[in-house]
Symmetry: C2
């Protein structure tokens, strides 16, 4: 095995398959085929550093997905596309998404750096709304709150599944965005 990047890729897979909470130095070392202390050659910050790297990986990934999803779209269509992209990421990478929701608290410094990229993508679409700066921030926060909250809850199984989750999400996105456009 070799460099950080490959190890993080393995960790990302593990987080998604077995849960972010089940990541430990031992399980990671086992999966890589190495003894626990060897990981410290790559990550002197230990487990915390690995978890941060997963979070950073996640934000970069989200940045790309959101930017792609909004290409050529403005206003309602742009906002909607970004909401769907973020939820799709949460489904594709539940473990990484968990890392992002959770590990925030520790690392708000680093976190603000990292999220700048994402916020930049978002602002391109937000600008097309021609709202003032404060209102754009309200919109951004509202959308993030809804999508991250909804995704967190559904991934944790808090919603049950008798009624379609996809339809609930669509309903919520439509309601929120229609409220944003009209207000």
């Amino acid at each position: 095995m070799a460099k950080k990047k490959e190890i993080i890729d393995v960790c990302v897979k593990m987080a998604d398959e077995e849960g972010f909470l089940n990541l430990s130095v031992k399980t990671i070392a086992d999966r890589i085929g190495v003894k626990p202390p060897s990981l410290y050659k790559h990550f002197q910050g230990g487990l915390d550093e690995i978890k941060q790297e997963i979070m950073v990986y996640g934000w970069n990934c989200i940045d790309i997905m959101i930017a792609k999803s909004a290409v050529g779209k403005t206003r309602e269509a742009g906002l909607k596309a970004m909401c769907y992209a973020l939820r799709e990421f949460a489904h594709a990478h539940p473990g990484v998404f968990e890392a992002i929701c959770w590990h925030n608290s520790y690392t708000s410094e680093l976190n603000h750096e990292v999220t700048k990229g994402v916020i930049a993508s978002l602002y391109a679409v937000l600008d097309s709304l021609e709202f003032d700066e404060v209102r754009k921030m309200h919109v951004l926060r509202s959308l993030r709150g809804f999508v991250e909250g909804f995704s967190m809850l559904e991934l944790h199984g808090s919603f049950g599944d008798e009624i379609s989750l996809d339809e609930s999400f669509e309903y919520g996105v439509n309601a929120l965005i229609s409220g944003i456009m009209k207000g």
Copy 2:
């Protein structure tokens, strides 16, 4: 020191003051003035059981706050009051709120039991909307997603604070509920 209930009260305080993540058998035992093994006389399930009890405490508390907040209100006013009540709980009990967001995954069985009370309160107001069952569920999920997501993000410091969080929340609630009522 004596019974479960008093110990949980202390744990709730600790979670809110020092963070849910910092709860450990040792810190709890210290605070109570007892040695770690003694806690197992009250909670045979160990730390996990304690964390579950905190979650249950939280849901009961939320149940009461939501029910009180919605008294005598219907439709928009009722929904809005419940959203504000839930966010107020998150602010008043950040540690317990964290427990609720986090510990969901482990305990979806128990969790579904516990949330029935809350969902009952909510349904009283939802019923006043005169929507069909499926749509009521969409509304419920959307509101929960938004409020829990927004609160989680602000408590984790993910939003910054240059622009008023209260105003962003108000904006989001108004947008979402207005979208819900019109749809």
